[in-house]
Structures are given as C-alpha cells and as structure tokens.
Assembly symmetry: C2
Homo-oligomer: 435 residues x 2
C-alpha cells in the first residue's frame, strides 16, 4: 500500500489508542533510542564525514552533529517531557442538550496525518515522533539527504520500539528517499497537515507545491516601534536583545520604526546601543542625519527592500514614522504577521497598537524574543505559525489537534423538529463540561 | 488600489471597531435593505426574466427568486439575528503570568479578509455581510452572473449604509465582474480565507485553483451503519429521515452499511421503509438476495462508484459488512469526513464507532440531518466544513475568528531568562480569565 494511504488508515486506529498506551509507547521509544545511542552516533559520524567532504557550511555541520554537548541526552529527555504532558485528545469543549436524550459534545481529536519534512537536524525525528504519538496523529517523516545515515539509524530504533507497542504499524513512517516528497505533497486526500522544519527556502518551496495546509512560517519579519512616549533606555535594551540574543531566530527583530518626534533625543540612545552590540544599521536619511558623527559611520542608507528582508544577522532596518498609526500601517503591510512590539509608557497609544496589529504576537514593552513555546509555558513547541487560520504563533500540542462533534440520541429524526417539517423546538441547554 | 490590498488594509481598521459600532452598522444595513426592497425586487425580476429566457433549471430559478414567501423579510431578520449574537472578538482564552509584570494573553481576533464566492442565492450577500462585520472581518463578495441585477441593487443599498457607519471603506467590497476571481484566488498575501457558497463543482473548482485556505465542503458522503444490535424500527426511521428529509442537503445519507448478521431480519425492515419513501436502493447482491420479491424489484445492483457518490436524490447505496470495524474502515476510506452514524443498542459497539470515525460529526442513534448550525444552537451558520484543521462541521461565527497573543511587559528582555543566556526562571502561573 502507498505510504500516505497506509498512514491515513493507521491514523484512524491510532485515534482510538488510550493516553496510557500512547505514553507507554513514548517510553519504549525513549528506551530504544537510549540503547541504540552508539549505533546512532556511529551513523551520525558518517553523515558528518560526508558533510565535511562536501564542504557544507559549519553551521549546517553543527546542526547535523548529534554528539555535541548533551544533544543526544536532551533529545531523549524531550521524549519523556512530551510523554508527561496532559493528554490533548478527548477534551470536551462543548456539551449541549439539543433535546431530551439528544446530547451534543465537541471533543478534541487528532488532526489525522502529518507530513513532516526537515533538513539537517536528525534529533527532530525523535521530537516529532513523540509529539505525533502523544497527540494521536499518524506522521510521515522525511529527512534531508545530509542526515541520511543518522536518520536511518534512528528510524531503525524507533520502528523496533513501535513494533512492540499499541501504536499501529504505519502510524509513524520514516522515509529517506528524495523522490517521494512531491508525490506525498499531492496526496491531500490522505495527508492533513504538512509541517516543514528547516530553512525559509524549504518552507516556501513546500507552500508553493502543495494544496495541503502547511503549518509554519517562511519569513519572520518582526518590527519594534519606538513611540514618542518610550523610555529610551528600555527601548535600547529591548531592541538590542531582540536583534542580538539569537539573530537566526524567527522571533528576532528586523525592522525598527522610530517616532519622528524623538529622532533627536531617543533615537541616538537606541542607535548607540545597537552600534555597541555590533549591529549594522540600515536607516532612512533623516535618521542617519540625526546621529553624531561616530554613529553615522556605522549606518548605511536603507533601501525599500531592506524593510521586507529577514536579515537573520546583525543588521537592522530603521525608518521614522509620524504617528503610531503610521507604524501600524507599515507593520500591517510589510510584516510577516509573526511578532511585533511597541515601546511606550503611554497606555492609550499601546492600546491602539495592541488592537490594530494583525500579527500572531503583539507586544508592549517586551522583547520579541519571548515568542517561543517554552517561554509561553507550553511544555513543548511544535513550531511557530504565521498562518491566519488554525494555530498561530508558537504552537504547542494543541496545534496538532482539532475537534469533532459527537451526537448521542435514541432514535431522533430531524423531521420531528421545527425547521425540518416538525413542530418540536430544540432545547439548546448547555451541560457542564466534564473532563 | 487593488481590491484585495484595499480589503487587507480595511481589515486592520475594522479589527479595532467596537462591538457596539459593528452591531449599529448591521442595523443600518438592515434599514437600508428594508428601504430598498422595491428596488431590489425589481432588479431581481430582471434576473428571473433572464434566467427563464436562458432556460435555467427550475431549482436555480427558485433559489434566485427573492420574492417567494417571506424570503426577503427572513433575509432582513437574519441581519438582526447576527447583530444580536455575542461578540466573538476579544474573548480571552488564556491568561498567564510569565514573570512579574510580564503577562501573556490569548485573545480571539478576526481572521482578516474573507473572499466569499457564491452562485444563485442573492440573499447570501446580506447574510455574509452581517457575519463578516459582526466578526470584524473584511470581506470581498463575488456573486454569480445569474444574480447580477439583484446583487448590484443589494450592493448599492449595503454600500450606502456602510458609508455612514464606523466600518471603514473597503471592508465590504461587492464585485460583480467575472474576470476578477482568478486574480483574487492568487492573492494569498492579502486574502486569508475563501468561503464558497454554491455547488460541489464550485467548491472543487476553487479548491483546485487557490493556495488560500478554503472553508467548506465539496462532497457530503454521509453513511449510516446498522449494527447487529440495532433496533430495526429505529434504523428504518433514521435512515428514511436522513435520506428523504432534504435529499439535496450535504448532511443527507448516501451510504448504508448493514451488519451481515442481520441481513435476513433487520435489513428487510429498513429496505421496506426506504421503498415506501420512494428511495431507489443500489445494493450489493447479498442484500438484494435477502429481500422479498416485491422489494427486490426496487433495487439495482450497486457499483463500486455508487459508494463514492453523493446522489443528492432519492437514491441510496447499500452493502453488508461483517463487523463494526469493517463499517468504520469503509467510512474512513470512502466517506467525506462530514457526518456518519451508527445505529445500535450496544454501548460498547457505539463507543468503538464514536472513537474511530474520522469525521466532523459522529452520531449514535440520531439522523445525520441534525448536522446543522441552527440545530446545534449556534444562532447562525457560516457553512459546513469538512476540513481537518481550523473549523469543522457546522460552523458558526467562531469559524471566522482565530486568536492572537498579547504580551505586556515593562522592559523585559529574553537574555535575562533561563534558556536565552540568563538565570531567571519563568513563573508560568495561569491567571483568571476575565471576559
């Protein structure tokens, strides 16, 4: 049977497996990967050798390397962490008596089949396997060619563990061949959600080549607006943190908007802090003009393109705006709906911004770097979504579930009721939610 | 400015308009349409004349006709009904203290820009306008050519009412030209959700031609499984209701699965009721064989294609299955994830079915015809979704909202906290939800 169809059928079985059995399965996966550590690391060395021979970038080689620091043990612990989370499945979110002995329930349920495509981080396999099983979703995992040996060794251990578990065969399928992806991306009748884990290019490529919903983000063009009523020191601290704490992160700031009334007093404080933190400033002329000579030399004139660019580096684009409304208009037209921030001591201005920005995260006086599942207290993070429907922002396990309606009757037919030919009214009484 | 971009910008303004102002706007739209009734009906007569000259089907002409019964007044009342619903926007669904003075809130918010494409029912314009404004979404409404005059007259009244309201220009755009659609379907940077209201062909065409999420359903292939422990009379009543109450409805039953142990006793009761209700039975040979001669003559032998067909007529496809598991496997592989039902007096068997079926609605001893927003008590229905993410089943106003995270701090930076270079732990204390 084809991979996707097999996953679809397995999903309908996995959906019925209890939380206890799903949790026990995760422990078995954990133990199997612990036992296979030497084997996996040996396979990983082969990938590393190949990557070095192929002159791949040092950052890619670092991501590929499973033996640095406590990466392997963290991966193992991550499985147990997911296992210990609350069961996301079967939560009753609505209970309503439509009529006597006719009761409607809305219950959380798995989405179905996930297709997860990732690049160089082999430990993602363990993480996604844990998330999928915990949430009752079948998953097809497709690794990149750079991690082929590591992937195969991990897959072997995971598959062996699953064989002894209550999770049906086909629920977790690990595929390593490259030519499968385009075929999988076309099977929207069997695959319900695609989760890309990798570069912006990977995400864009996938979004452009499938009708299946894609959960993730391509660009993360976060902006910070420094209002006329901002505390300049706070603005400098937040902007530097948001830019330099982890520039490769999607929640790093890329665009800085300065209220034009504070170009001469607050902007130099922020600019000076950025220069001290080795950040290149690409600013509009009026902002460069306002700086003292020693700061001016660290600035370049911004192009329009700079305000649509995710630099992922020590570079920031800056421009001035007349009002908070202009800042909002800039963000709503140039941003990527990820996370945007206002720095101000004025509650009214902040209120306007918090209401008017059309992004997954809207912040007031806090670094955009807080946009993260662990920082939000979700226990885990499936990814960050800039989609406008389903899950938004940092996504925990709840992004892998949806709901279905269960109706329990004792023979009722629609024709007895008002609106469908009969005269019985509906009761529509909400019942207590018992979870 | 282009239609979609204009809608996107209007959406960010509409998002900030209060519920009182949105509700007042709906009353203005209601009044304008009440006053324009003669004008709209006159325009509608032109559409009806054109439809008759073009020999369009009687059912299409009926859908087009705004003067039948109380259709116009129902349309007007529908606007007031939507106006009176609870505000779906700004509900706090999570409140969490990440640290002192660093508070995270998750609030419901509009999705953004809706593109609604519909065919012959001109009253849908008023309904969708009301739903969009109430939920704070901008909407682009595109009517079919059959209802061009009615559409234009309604659009004129709606537009005039909106001009005096707090809803920004561009928030509701009514377009009548045909060539715009394919261009709009490609503008996923501005349009967040497409809602088709019309035939399966329309929905399929749209799904095949856009990357924007589409909320709706193409096929509604609902199944009823009559278990060995079913009450035969109940089974007959429910199957007849589900098939004949409104055969054109997407929640009508198309497939009947009979447990093979009750072919000789319960199946003839169900078949007889169907024949009495003028339903053509397309059954597998063993089911036809089990019937008395007078019923046999009303049956045809089913083809495999019949089990993938939405008949939307007095026709039902029937086959026998050995067990409830086989019924579930059939439904999960042939169905359309809409609404499926088991008829049984056995709670254990029902429990298996309710857990294992992968559909928006799973019913026990009740007609599939209950799958409807009004019957569920939602006050209104945006449509029925067979999608696996975001809204499923009958969708009320909550299908037009999503959520965003608001973080309020007083200068916190990520680098102070554990995991990003600092040593402060997060508090992650849930706060009471105040709505």
């Amino acid at each position: 049977m084809e991979i996707a169809q097999k996953a679809h059928l397995a999903a309908t079985v996995l959906k019925t497996v209890s939380n206890d059995d799903r949790t026990a399965t995760l422990k078995m996966v954990h133990d199997a990967l612990r036992e296979a550590k030497d084997e996996v690391i040996a396979a990983n060395v082969k990938d590393l050798d190949a990557a070095k021979s192929a002159n791949l970038s040092p950052s890619l080689i670092k991501r590929l390397d499973l033996s640095t620091g406590d990466k392997y043990d963290s991966m193992l612990q991550g499985i147990l962490d997911v296992a210990s989370l609350d069961d996301p499945v079967g939560k009753v979110t609505l209970a309503r008596k439509l009529d006597d002995n006719l009761e409607l329930y809305r219950l959380t349920c798995p989405v179905g089949v996930l297709l997860v495509i990732f690049e160089a981080r082999p430990e993602v396999i363990a993480n996604i396997t844990a998330l999928a099983i915990k949430s009752g979703n079948a998953a097809i995992l497709k690794g990149g060619k750079e991690s082929l040996h590591s992937f195969t060794a991990i897959a072997k251990a995971v598959t062996k563990a699953l064989e002894k578990s209550k999770v049906p065969p086909g629920a977790i399928q690990l595929i390593a061949t490259r030519d499968e992806v385009s075929s999988l991306l076309s099977q929207d009748q069997y695959i319900d959600l695609v989760i890309p884990r990798g570069s912006n290019e990977l995400v864009k490529h996938i979004k452009d080549n499938t009708k299946i919903p894609v959960m993730g983000h391509a660009d993360g063009i976060c902006a910070i607006y420094v209002d006329q009523d901002a505390n300049a020191k706070m603005a400098a601290d937040i902007v530097v943190d948001a830019k330099t704490n982890y520039p490769a992160g999607c929640n790093s700031v890329e665009t800085l908007l300065i209220n034009e009334k504070v170009i001469s007093d607050k902007w130099p404080t922020v600019a000076s802090a950025l220069v001290d933190a080795n950040v290149e400033i690409r600013a509009t002329p009026e902002l460069i003009e306002a700086l003292p000579a020693d700061l001016k030399s660290h600035c370049k004139t911004a192009t329009e393109e700079d305000f649509k660019t995710e630099f992922l580096a020590h570079i920031i684009a800056a421009k001035s705006v007349p009002t908070v409304e202009d800042a909002m208009a800039h963000i709503n037209s140039h941003g990527s709906s990820h996370t945007d921030c206002i720095i101000t001591d004025n509650e009214t201005t902040a209120g306007k911004f918090l209401k008017g920005i059309d992004s997954a995260g809207v912040y007031w006086n806090a670094s955009t770097r807080f946009a993260d599942g662990f920082r939000y207290g979700f226990g885990t993070e499936v990814g960050v979504s800039t989609n406008k429907i389903h899950a938004r922002g940092p996504v925990g396990l709840e992004g892998l579930v949806n709901y279905q309606y269960i109706l329990k009757g004792n023979g009722q037919i629609a024709a007895s009721y008002l609106g469908a030919g009969g005269d019985k009214p509906f009761k529509h009484e909400d019942l207590p939610l018992e979870n």
